[in-house]
């Protein structure tokens, strides 16, 4: 058994800088309020943009009269979707899974023809101050024909139900999740189902025939929001030469630039996007809401314009993750071996196609070795805000179904749930339910570490208390990335890279470069470059930044190292092969008198051939999936149904934790978001399709007062496709908590709660039903 420590790192590889915990370079700026976020931008002549939003969940826009608003005091511009060209329905691939149908993206930014959810942007005003802009919004006259809202997937899929998009094609390809319209030749009616696809491996019918024990169940989860602290914000300024500068709170400034380029028909070379510090994104700041509106207003006004959402706008008009319905069936033999699995996943995408149901299918059976599987995914439109990515998109709801079904299977088999997972864990070479073979992963290691953890070995005593476990899978992403390392004459290195820093990646990049160069991380000065300061870098998403930009930084460091060796060889007039570079010191391999430190050589760079700059552009494969296993103890109040989390331990394979402190922070943050999703959070829609709880007062996220310390265990099973063994770590910790809590509630009070959130009322009702025998 492990010795109890609050946060344990089970390290397998030792380095000098990688794996240590230096203070983050941007820390002082952030804790002293000096760091500049998107809304901090102030420019000469800056105007403030405000957006008029639909009061209806579903309505045809018959006309928009902006004349009174245009004449209002302080108003400089009013725009609607008529102010830009409507793009075609062609799907665009902007790298790293960033796939968009520009027509749908454009129509989500500014409604065209129909308002498709309450809060849908219809028009916008730029005025001298925010108050004048708000007053002018009230003067815009929109003539709506109110239509029946489609409020959930059941209504959406019913025969004869109103269609959100009359020409929507039902695709059968999860790769085209952005959806599209029917061709002109196809005269059949459209649908509210944007995509319907299947994955089949082995013979699932035969598999179930071989099963001795079968579990079938259905789960439902509500839409939830990422809850980032900083609302969306964008500022735009047109230059006299017709080029455009945009300041944005974004997870991907190159992606933002490329989307703006396509939406505005402007070459990328004429758009500069400057990434500001970001107050949380969790996936939802990989797309655009405010920026294009600011661009249109700035163009019309001839002055810079800033558009910043309020919290209510964030709830009503940005993208939560999908509500889901999942039916799952698992079969196992009496000795506990899984032989078949089948799942039907329905995800509500909101008003436009593109829910994360492909991600749900990819992850649902990820932790297990099941020889026969069948998966069906449906992407269904409803009159709610268009869903957006949220940390491991699609996976938590899928794991809620899978991992609670596994718990039921263990109960029927009389098996310890971690023993069951050890017996059935996916490992290198396991055939996944979506087809490919699993690369080297550390699930067995996380399950074993969970089993060995004092938390699991400590008896849980007292009534209404229960312990639950669950595992989770996330595939992780990669993509193109760039880095430039410039050696300064004082021996420091200025590092410019292209990944927006969501979570402390600057320090992780500095550490990887420092490790290569053999100097302290504090000697590296990391900066996130804008779109004109560094080469293309794909979004900070898919837990990919530390992996892909880490690779770029590693290669840039190797480039610096090569040049340093060349300079030392030149100074000593010896062949380069005779120079060795170890721990930041260059020396002759046999003449130990010939020695220069990194700092000494840096000081001589200009006189020995000019500045030393290392650079790299990469697009590395092998991001390597990440797996986790969580343990939670709860106590349920039998009077109110309220669930208190007593103890929580999260075990995760990080490959190699570059900065363990920030990996622990990611694990704790993911677990906490998962706990909120499980117990409290939901988009509560009334029968008109209006969100009824669009403030943080009514949309209850957990606070530090609600939760115990989240203990972490970092297991390190190095990713063979990264020089330091990195796997992305940011997303998988949100995958297991939903199911772990449901399982814990079952073991506390004997009821299976299959709906999220498991709020006090829902838990109490389940307990009453059990007591009444219904």
């Amino acid at each position: 058994m492990l010795d109890y420590k609050p946060n344990i790192v089970l390290a397998t590889g030792e380095y000098k800088v990688v794996g240590t915990r230096p203070i983050r370079h941007d820390g002082a700026d952030k804790v002293t309020g000096q760091a500049k976020y998107g809304a901090d931008i102030i420019l000469p002549g800056l105007l403030h943009g405000k957006i008029l939003r639909s009061p209806h969940a579903h309505a045809r826009i018959k006309s928009i009269d902006t004349s009174k608003a245009e004449a209002a005091p302080g108003v400089h511009a009013v725009v609607t979707s008529a102010d830009w060209e409507q793009p075609t329905g062609k799907v665009e691939d902007l790298a790293e899974g960033s796939i968009h149908n520009l027509r749908f993206l454009s129509n989500n930014i500014l409604a065209y023809g129909k308002a498709l959810y309450k809060g849908h942007a219809v028009a916008a005003v730029a005025a001298a101050n925010p108050h004048q802009a708000e007053e002018a919004l009230a003067l815009i006259d929109v003539d709506y024909e109110v239509l029946t809202p489609v409020n959930n997937f059941r209504e959406a899929m019913k025969e004869g139900t109103p269609l959100l998009h009359e020409r929507l094609e039902t695709l059968s390809d999860p790769g085209l999740r952005a959806g599209g319209y029917k061709s002109d030749e196809d005269t059949a009616m459209g649908s509210n189902v944007a995509n319907h696809f299947e994955f089949r491996v082995g013979d699932v019918e035969k598999g179930f025939q071989e099963a001795d024990v079968i579990v079938e169940k259905e789960t439902n989860t509500a839409a939830v929001h990422q809850g980032y602290i900083e609302p969306h914000t964008g500022t735009a300024m047109w230059q006299p030469d017709g080029s455009l500068t945009v300041w944005s709170s974004t997870q991907g400034h190159f992606n933002a630039r490329d989307l703006l380029s396509r939406l505005l028909n402007l070459p990328v070379s004429r758009i500069r996007v400057i990434p500001m510090e970001i107050g949380g994104g969790f996936g939802a700041k990989g797309i655009l809401y405010s920026e294009p509106v600011a661009v249109l207003l700035a163009g019309k006004a001839g002055r810079p314009v800033k558009v910043t959402m309020s919290r209510t706008e964030v709830f009503e008009a940005s993208g939560p993750t999908s509500a889901t319905n999942i039916k799952i069936k698992l079969g196992a033999t009496n000795d506990g071996k899984l032989v078949a699995g089948e799942a039907h996943l329905i995800y509500e995408s909101g008003a436009f196609p593109g829910s994360p149901v492909p991600g749900g299918c990819n992850c649902i059976m990820g932790p297990y070795d099941i020889p026969n599987t069948y998966l069906e995914g449906l992407d269904v439109l409803v009159n709610h805000p268009k869903s957006a990515a949220y940390r491991a998109p699609g996976a938590p709801a899928a794991a809620f179904a899978m991992e609670t079904a596994v718990d039921e299977l263990c109960e029927k088999l009389g098996m310890d749930p971690l023993e069951f997972r050890l017996l059935n864990s996916a490992k290198e070479g396991t055939r996944r339910a979506t087809g490919p073979l699993m690369p080297k992963v550390g699930l067995v290691d996380t399950v074993q570490a969970a089993k060995d953890h004092p938390h699991y070995g400590t008896p849980l005593e007292g009534p209404y208390r229960g312990r639950g476990v669950a595992s989770g899978f996330w595939g992780n992403g990669t993509g193109p990335a760039s880095a430039v390392a410039m050696v300064n004459t004082d021996g420091t290195v200025s590092l410019v890279e292209g990944s927006a820093d969501l979570s402390g990646t600057r320090v992780a990049f500095a550490q990887q470069l420092a490790e290569v160069l053999g100097i302290p991380a504090e000697e590296i000065k990391p900066t996130v470059g804008d779109t004109e300061s560094i080469g293309f870098t794909s979004n900070s998403g898919g837990s990919g930044a530390t992996f892909k930009s880490g690779w770029a930084v590693y290669e840039a460091g190797q480039d610096v190292k090569r040049q340093m060796i060349q300079r030392a060889a030149k100074i000593w007039d010896i062949p380069e092969e005779d120079v060795e570079y170890t721990d930041g010191v260059l020396q002759h391999k046999s003449d130990t008198e010939l020695k220069l430190t990194f700092r000494q050589l840096a000081a001589r760079q200009n006189a020995t051939g000019g500045p030393i700059t290392g650079r790299a552009g990469v697009n590395p494969g092998g991001a390597g999936p990440c797996l986790a296993t969580h343990i939670v103890d709860v106590e349920v109040d039998p009077e109110t149904g309220k669930v208190d989390v007593l103890r929580y331990t999260a075990v995760q394979d990080a490959g190699k934790a570059i900065h363990p402190g920030y990996v622990e922070g990611q694990i704790q943050g993911g677990a906490v978001q998962g706990i909120g999703w499980a117990l409290n959070e939901e988009y509560f829609f009334n029968d008109q399709g209006h969100m009824a709880n669009s403030t943080f007062l009514d949309y209850r996220m957990p606070t530090a007062l609600d939760l115990p310390m989240i203990d972490t265990v970092i297991v390190e099973v190095p990713n063979p496709a990264h020089p330091f063994g990195v796997r992305g770590t940011g997303e998988v910790p949100i995958v297991p908590p939903l199911a772990a809590l449901s399982n814990a509630i079952f073991h506390a009070v004997g009821v299976r709660v299959n709906e999220l959130p498991m709020s006090p009322g829902v838990v109490l009702e389940a307990m009453w039903k059990k007591d009444n025998g219904s």
Binding site: E96, G175, E198, Q226, P358, G541, G542, S543, N619, G621
Partner: protein, 81 residues
């Protein structure tokens, strides 16, 4: 895709690159190429990832394929943070 391959889950196709695999697949099962290949851009369709021996390819059509490699065509799945 299994709808286009008569329900076959595994197809044996020759080819040294993903591009050759797709071309040869089309000869055996007409219609498959259109589900994978964007002729206008001469690249994999947006949203399609070629997974070669368990690893999502970063080179698309140019990715090298060994004689005993496994190639899957899957949705390119983006992440959230």
């Amino acid at each position: 895709m299994q709808g286009l391959t008569g329900g076959n889950q595994v197809i044996q196709v020759e080819g040294a690159t993903v591009r050759q695999i797709i071309n040869n697949l089309e000869l055996l099962y007409p219609g498959t190429k259109a589900r994978l290949y964007d002729a206008e851009e001469d690249e994999l369709l947006p949203g399609v990832a070629a997974v070669v021996d368990g690893d999502a390819s970063q080179l698309g059509l140019m990715e090298r394929v060994n004689p005993d490699s496994e190639v899957h065509f899957l949705p390119a799945i983006g992440g959230g943070g």
